[in-house]
Every structure is written in C-alpha cells, then in structure tokens.
Amino acid sequence: MAINVEMLKEKARDIRIDIIREVCSAGSGHPGGSLSAADIITYLYFEEMNIDPKDPDKKGRDRFVLSKGHAAPALYAALAERGYFPKETLLTLRQIGSILQGHPDRKKVPGVDMSTGSLGQGVSAAVGMALADQIDGTGARVYSVLGDGELQEGMVWEAAMAAAHYRLSNLTIFVDHNGLQIDGKNEDVMTVAPVAEKFESFGWDVQKIDGHDFEQIAQAVEKAKKVADRPQAIIAETVKGKGVSFMEDQAGWHGKAPDEKQAKQAVEELGGEW
C-alpha cells in the first residue's frame, strides 16, 4: 500500500512541536515518552483509523486507548491536529478547568475513548472494547499503545491472556519500547525482556519494527490486520525524547518540563519557530 510518508513526517513534526509547547506551558508533564510514541500515534490518527472528528462517538469507529496515559501530550496534539478541538486548547494542558488533564479523561476530551493514566489498565479496557466489537461484528479495530515499563504491571499479562483466549484479532497493541522508565533503564529497574517472546508465548502475533519509520509502521499494521485468529503486538523500538537532542535517550526527561529556553531550542531543532 502507498502511504504519504512526507505528509506523515510533517504531521509528526507538528505533533512533536506541540508536545514541547504543551509541556512547557504546563510547567510539568511527560515529554520523553510523548516524543517516543509520536510517530505511532501520528500514523494511527492520520493514516489508519476509521474515525470522524465531527462525530467523535460515531458508531462502528475504530478505537484508540493510550494505555501509557502519561503520553497524553502526544495524543492531545494529534486530536487537535485532526480537529477534535481547537489547537489553542493545547496550551491549557494541566491547568485548572482545562479539558486536557495531566492524563486523558474520556469525559472531557472529544475523541478520547478511555480515561487512562494508571498503568496496565488501558490495555485491559482495549481488550473489552475489542471483545464488544467482536460480539457485535462491527468490523472495527482497537489500537492501544503501551510503554515498556508498563509491561511490569501484572495486569498487562492478565489482559494479554484474555485477548488471546478470546481470539481478538481486531486488537493491535504497540509497545513503545524506548528502554527507559522513570528510575532508569528497564533492565536496571525491572527486566522486561524478552518482550516479543513473552507476547508470543501468550498466543499473540508479534512483529518487531523501528517505531520511527513510517514504512515499517505501515507494513506492520497492514500485516497485523490480516491476522485472523489472534491479537497482535507490534514491538516498536523507539528513542525516548525522539527529535530533541538533549532529551533523546534520557530517563531524566520522562516527567520533566523544559523551561522556555530549552523549549525554544527543542522547537527549533524540530524545525519549528518559537
């Protein structure tokens, strides 16, 4: 299939710039994991999902659950870019009265299908949504993005077992595998490897890709959609803080906001204007 890589790159760049602006204006938030998931989220929102910003609750729509809810700035940027709400709203992130909570609230934000933030729970809800679509035969698909540190939550594996048991072939999850979590490297905090083998042994279809390469993301999603009898996990190798030199591969930028000077540098590195 032909995808417009240039368009997607441009969207992803805009989303990354928005992430920096959002988190800087909030004075807190999670830039590292938002930047690492930005390309996956861009692909889903600008290429893949059957959704309608004019009718966020449209019946039979595809659904997205950001299980790593702290990457909310990336999701909000994608939703705003798709027209679910005005882009100016992005700068109200984490402020009192804003629809843009620190972690996504489905009751407040048009286009958000599940409130997340407490790790391990979003994927479980995604399993329930996929099951509902299977029961109703809607043909709709459910996507979810998990962090790699999130895989340490036991509930992820309860959900993984259930998704395979019920043969939810309409469920595709991405593991945003940037290797880092708040306290450091995955392997220093709590080893999650081997990730692919774990999902395989739970009965999932598994692919490993470069999570910043749109061709690879596209191919993986197309292949996943053809799997008829099991859920699919796409293990996306990513770089935490991707696109901003001083944030890349730094656990310290997991949950810290750039100051204005840093934000300016970040936006300019990304090719934007401060």
Partner: protein
C-alpha cells in the same frame, strides 16, 4: 416468611430474567460463576457470558471497555476480590470514566463462614462509597435484590451491589415498593430507630419484636441504598425517635454506620450507636456462631438500643 433465599441466588435468577429482556447485557465472572450464581446466565446465554479467569483486575478493566462500547455489564466475583483486589481498577477504569458496569459482589461479610478472614470482606461498603459517583446497594432479601437490580440496570453508570452467601428470610412480597435511593421503613416505632442493611434488617426486625415485649417501640429502616443515601428518612427518624442505631455486617468504620452518622452530625444530632464488626478481622466458623462472636445479632441490637436509650 418461611422462604429463605440468598441474595446471590436472587441475583443469579434476576440476571437470567434481565438477560431475556435486555439483549445488551453482558455478564463477566472470575472463575466463580457457580458461587456467584452467574452460572444460570452463562447456561442460557453462553454468547453473552465471559469468564476472565482468576484475574479480577482484568475483569474490571474489560468490563469497562465493554461498557464504553455500549454494553451493560454485570461483573461478579467475591466482595473481597472485587472491592479489595480490584479496587483501583474500579476507581480508575470504571468510576472515573463513568462506565456502565454493575459490580455484583457476593460472599460479602463474615457470614461467608468457614473460608475465614481472607474471604470475609468487611470493608467493601467503605471502599465503594468513597468513590465519586458510585451507587452502592446492599439488599436485605431476595425480592428487593431483584427490584433493585432492575433499577440499576436502567440507570447509566457504575454501581456496586453487595450480596451474601447465606440463605436469609424473604422479607418482602412483589407488591412492596422498593425504590433505589429511598430507605424503606419496614416497621414503625417511636422510641428508637434501627437503620440496617443486608441480613441485619431481619435481625433488626427480630430485635424489634423482643423490645416490643419490653415496652420499647422500635422503628426499623432497610437502608438498601448506601449511596446515594436517603437523608430525608434519617432526619425524620432522628427527629421523631430518641436515638438512631445502625446495624450492618461490615466494619463499623466507614460503612452504613459512618454514612448515617455523617448525616446525623450535620443535620440532626441525636444519640447514636453502631452495631457491626469492631475493627477486627473475621475467622472461620459457622455463620450463626460468627454473628454471635462478632456481636451482630438481634440480641446485640436489643442491647445497643437499650444502652443508648438508658444513656439519655
């Protein structure tokens, strides 16, 4: 009043009827369907029953996802593993997103009996009622169980239904009006009021019989809905009778007694006493003996009423 039926059995029976009437109802269980009585629904509607296996957290998460995709979900396990183990999932994935999940938790309280403290949840009313927007119900008999289930099935949003293992007397007939959010005055009286829930309503009625013989007139209210709480009936009881005694098969910390006290201290201060489990874990034993050991029998209600009235 010869009939004795457990509220879990009434729940199982009601589910089957509801399943016939409403096609969007989905039932989930965590490997306890023969005990929670969801097995009846499973037998008649195998395509709408989903076992989560022994994974209560994921069951609650899946229930949330199903509900947010348009289903009315009844999710069942023992109270300990619903309100206890899966607490945070209920809070963050069901209540916070306002998912239409009815958590129907059986084997609540110490009358679980022989299984002992690990399975005797005496904290669930406290844990559930503190969650914003959560409806909390603890029916006193089989008839009110079905009536209340029908009402929560019609209401959009999360609910916690506390059900028991033990067979208990049927207090109501089909014509008794039971309204969600409205306490039910099951016996009028002028000296003191007992506000009870679950199987303690029957204990309170027995206490009232005994007290009547001693010339004490007891009002008994079945407070089947712990949240939203019927403040009006509490205020009325507190102004028309001299004392309010609560009775619950639950810790005296945080449950019905606390909920009633919150209203009494704010709106109508009156002398109170609380019959319930005193800040201690349960233990193995036969349910009637446990009720005696933990001082939650009609006799204990009689003492509490007399002590309270004597202290005035």
């Amino acid at each position: 009043m010869a009939d004795k039926i457990s509220t879990r059995q009434a729940y199982g029976d009601a589910l089957v009827k509801l399943g016939r009437e409403k096609k969007d109802i989905i039932v989930m269980d965590a490997d306890l369907s023969k005990s929670t009585m969801t097995a009846g629904f499973k037998a008649e509607f195998p395509d709408r029953f989903f076992n989560a296996g022994i994974a209560e957290s994921n069951m609650m998460g899946m229930a949330a996802g199903l509900a947010l995709s348009g289903k009315t979900v009844f999710a069942s396990t023992f109270a300990m593993f619903a309100a206890g183990r899966a607490y945070e999932i209920i809070r963050n994935s069901i209540a916070y997103p306002k998912a239409n999940v009815k958590i129907c938790a059986t084997h609540a309280g110490i009358t679980v009996g022989e299984d002992g403290a690990s399975h005797q949840c005496i904290e669930d009313l406290a844990l559930m009622r503190v969650i914003p927007g959560m409806t909390v119900i603890h029916p006193a008999d089989a008839v009110s169980t079905e009536k209340l289930l029908r009402q929560i099935a019609e209401e959009e949003g999360p609910a916690y239904v506390r059900l028991g293992r033990l067979s208990i007397p049927v207090l109501y007939d089909e014509n008794t009006p039971i309204e969600l959010g409205r306490g039910n005055c099951v016996r009028d009286g002028g000296d003191a009021t007992v506000i009870a829930c679950g199987l303690m309503v029957n204990e309170a009625l027995m206490a009232a019989e005994k007290l009547e013989k001693e010339g004490i007139s007891l009002r008994v209210i079945d407070m089947h809905t712990i949240k939203p709480l019927d403040e009006e009936i509490i205020v009325k009881a507190a102004s028309e009778t001299k004392a309010v005694i609560t009775a619950e098969e639950h810790s005296v910390i945080g449950g019905l007694g606390s909920a009633v006290a919150e209203v009494i201290v704010k709106k109508c201060p009156v002398k109170m006493a609380m019959v319930g489990v005193q800040d201690r874990f349960g233990q193995s034993g036969k349910p009637p003996l446990l009720m005696e050991e933990y001082n939650i029998t009609a006799k204990d209600i009689v003492s509490a009423v007399k002590d309270t009235l004597n202290s005035l």
